[in-house]
Symmetry: C2
Subunit: 242 residues, 2 copies
Amino acid sequence: MLSNNQIKLINQLKQKKFRQQHNLFVAEGIKTVNEFLRSEFTVKFLFATDDYTNIYNVENLQIVSQAELKKISNYKSPNQIVSIFEIPEYEEIKDYGLTLALDDINDPGNLGTIIRLCDWFGVDQLVCSKSTVDCYNSKTVQASMGSLSRLPVIYTDINLFLKNDTRSIYGAFLEGENVYRSKLKSNAILVMGNEANGISQSIEKFISHKITIPHFSKDQQAESLNVAMATAILLSVFKQLK
Amino acid sequence: MLSNNQIKLINQLKQKKFRQQHNLFVAEGIKTVNEFLRSEFTVKFLFATDDYTNIYNVENLQIVSQAELKKISNYKSPNQIVSIFEIPEYEEIKDYGLTLALDDINDPGNLGTIIRLCDWFGVDQLVCSKSTVDCYNSKTVQASMGSLSRLPVIYTDINLFLKNDTRSIYGAFLEGENVYRSKLKSNAILVMGNEANGISQSIEKFISHKITIPHFSKDQQAESLNVAMATAILLSVFKQLK
């Protein structure tokens, strides 16, 4: 049976300020929860409609009814498990390998997709500007499909980070060098900008290589690519180096 | 002023069977409607909260109130224009160039994103299995961001199409040849499968080259890529040929 305090806490965690205050976030659904349990994340509570202790080997599992699960889930049809994990503290930013840096990504779904792509392409760390949407919000956790359990995401002053890093810094622009013809380094930072405004002016001065994905549209009218699609394509091109 | 018949028609068009019966579909929002008006699509009705006749140069514009627009829009906050266009009839399938073929894509948002990608990468035609979600449903029209006005989308018996086409047929599989090391042809068909089940068995026998996007994840646990992301990456690799 869920206590009122538990229901209150879980509903509070829908808001970033409470996630930061309690240092906790919510993950839902068997597959996603399982991936966090397998990772180094620390589980705080686990509410499930069945006894999954054999599968999960966790002590703090609490059996709840479907009606109770609905009270704490973000979904109309919750998928058997709602869990609360501690938000991890990551060490400092590595200055080698391929790092993706996000300058004010607003859409939680885009961030989740980008986290999934980073996991796929073996990006070591994801560095986000402080105004990028919080990766522990429920939509991002959901869209990342468990990849958030494997990728360190660090929120920091991105200007300061780019200023002090000595690697080549590539940035995605609508007008830049054709990425297919660019000499790319595997030891690099790739910066992706905001959905509507691209890379902000204060960041632009740190970009050493402006790159672009050329379009092949016949009548020159193709829309710009969505930031998640552009990230998919650019990470693919970077990884082809190896 | 909207007539009851108009309201009824537009609301019917939310369903595929009525779109097919009337041979009409709905497009909304200034940018999207503008792109269809610039294309070869035939506009049937245009309902707008302001007089855009100067901009659009169309005769059949009908001024409606914001409240009326809400009655026919798919959105809580409609964006100034709702329009009805005729569904075009495309000629037969071309047997040259790069054709993307979809085997049972279910999600309208995925299809819209894929249409946008085809537009960007200059894919000549998009061939869909008959059980692929309808490209004229409102979510797909919206997600395609106007690209649907530039890309012929053809629904057909995909088995028959693949059987009779003499080009190389590439298919995206979880286990196939590393696409970065594959010899790709620019005159080809690329087949993408269903979100949950991949390419169906009945289609598989027509695939001459199974290709895969290798993952670079450290612990081998990365989720498979979403079909739209995989399409973005594969089209990018195909277009790098040139």
